[in-house]
Amino acid sequence: MSNELTDAIVNMHEEEALGLVKRMLDAGTAPTQVLEQAKEGMTELGRRFECEEAFIPELIMGGEIMRGISEELKPHLKGSGAGEKRGTVVIGTVKGDIHDIGKDIVVMMLDINGYEVHDLGIDVPQETFVEAIKEHKPEVVGLSGLLTLAFDSMKGTVDAISAAGLRDQVKIMVGGAPADQQVQDYTGSDGWGSDVTAALKLADAWTAGEAR
């Protein structure tokens, strides 16, 4: 049955996937095992996205199926340890920019992959990032933006984090369609990505303690 659930997610068969989860639970399959198999489906979607064999609709629909599965599993997972977090991420679209499609996909995938994500929303002032870092103590901060005006906001936010004495405590990634190495250098951040897989790889590397 294990591949059936993974396949149903990869092939966007929402009702089939949710039905399988119920049947697996009824048959006594451990909820943690069901969750792992569901995550395999999302991992495969991520791989296909990176290879341009799957696209944004598959990621969004896959996330939606995963959300339904998580709801189904939630009552069964209490106290199972399955919710153990991989790391904490504070993320938001920087001041002056109100775009959130890409950021929301990144938030979804980080969440599915075991991160505690604090999404600050759009048009986020520098001081809000600073306060969120003090409160949540994340390993990773994500600064998102679609417009070129975001570059200065990102730089200002990184500077504000430094001025607050928090720069050494976090790795900062800048992301969005226009992000590249120049943007990383300009903003003084630690990494950049223009799609969800890049964000996930950076977060994984940083929370695993790998070098920048």
């Binding site: 990176e50 064999e53 944004i56 629909m61 499609i101 120049q182």
Partner: protein, 383 residues
């Protein structure tokens, strides 16, 4: 002898039409296609001023067009901020609204129609737009959703028009909505007056406008303005038939709008920016089912008439992985390794355009050129 403004105008129109007809022009014209804030920034004006001071904005466009030696005057795609303000617009945010003065206007992505409302919209698109969409995109139009408005045909006689219509219009929320529409119309009237004066002045100087009407693919209309990217994406899987029915309806709107604007401006060129159909957004199958039929219709639909389509094809250059000097395809990415010659469609990535060195970009140009003259599909990823 120096050409007159009228002669220059005709020469430039002819040059453009020759290019569209795949004839060799006498030279390649330099054209800035569309303009938002560029001219204002060159002249030292803020984005806020650009949206509110229409004459100053159009004068800046004139000055920049002449100074930069463009052969056409770029069409202004910045709309009247005082019009947004009159409506209490919530679907956009702009400088002078609640964005800073030096930030451009931005669209607020949201589900302005819910998935469960497709049937209601399809049954009565006009009524739904008036009572549901308008209040959701503009706070000052909330009255249309607060006061029960019967179908208009109920009032198709003098007695009921007075007794029912007269009574409804007296309701303060409805009155406020109507007054907001009139205030918006006044603001837009001033904007159009500046626009018309600019068109006339530039034409006299010999500068045609690049395009007259902007229209978008019907899928984009649904996704951008009604259901959001997330909503329209889920609809591809959960409500494909309703999505397609709405796309059909939106296609009528887009072709109708193109026709109407052509009549008003006299400009046969329509600009069709590609949004969700851009390279990298959706799969071939989704593109062919939900995007391509109507997009193709917009581009080719009026081939017997005067309409000239200026589609903006966007997205990633999918065979770029085979260009020397680019990163090798990632492990396990069979499709990327196999790229097909001649399938490269759309625009190079922005990094390639703005950051690439001429030498590094040469293979890209060569590759794109290799596809010229073929019967091309719009943009499709290599699979």
């Amino acid at each position: 002898m120096t050409a007159t403004g009228e002669e220059l105008y005709q020469q430039r129109e002819q040059r453009f039409n020759d290019i569209v007809a795949l004839k060799k022009p006498d030279h390649v014209p330099v054209i800035a296609h569309t303009i938002h804030y560029f001219a204002d920034k060159v002249k030292g004006f803020s984005q806020r001023e650009a949206g509110y001071n229409h004459k100053q904005h159009y004068d800046a466009i004139k000055d920049v067009t002449v100074e930069f030696g463009w052969e056409f005057v770029p069409t202004n795609a910045l709309f009247a901020a005082d019009g947004y303000q009159a409506l209490g617009t919530t679907q956009l945010r702009w400088p002078g609204g609640d964005l800073p003065d030096d930030v451009g206007f931005q669209f607020v992505e949201d589900e302005y129609m819910l998935a469960e409302e497709y049937d209601e919209f399809l049954a009565d698109p006009n009524g739904f737009t008036l009572t549901k969409i308008f209040p959701r995109i503009a706070s000052n139009l909330a009255g249309f959703g607060q006061v029960p408005i019967p179908p208009l045909f109920w009032m198709a006689n003098t007695y009921y028009l007075l007794n029912v219509g007269g009574a409804i219009l007296g309701a303060p929320p409805l009155r406020k909505a109507i007054e907001s529409l009139l205030a918006m119309s006044d603001a837009v009237g001033a904007y159009f007056a500046a626009d018309a004066a600019n068109a006339q002045e530039m034409a006299a100087l010999g500068y045609p406008r690049t395009w007259g009407a902007p229209i978008v693919c019907a899928f984009d209309m649904v996704s951008d303005m009604f259901r959001s990217l997330r909503g329209s994406t889920l609809d591809m899987y959960r409500h494909p038939d309703k999505l397609l029915a709405t796309i059909d309806l939106m296609q009528q709107a887009q072709t109708g709008l193109a026709r109407m604007t052509m009549q008003i401006t006299g400009n046969p060129r329509v600009f069709i920016p590609m949004h969700r159909g851009a390279g990298g957004f959706m799969s071939d199958e989704q593109f062919e089912k939900f995007y391509w039929p109507t997009f193709k219709g917009l581009v080719l639909g009026d081939h017997r008439g005067r309409r000239r389509a200026l589609p903006a094809l966007r997205g990633r250059l999918h065979a770029a992985s085979r260009v020397p000097g680019r990163a090798a395809p990632r492990q396990g990415c069979r499709a990327l390794r196999q790229g097909r010659p001649g399938q490269v469609q759309g625009s190079p990535r922005r990094q390639d355009v703005f950051l690439g060195q001429p030498r590094a970009l040469a293979p890209l140009h060569g590759h794109a050129a290799a596809g010229q003259g073929r019967r091309q599909r719009t943009r499709r990823p290599v699979r």
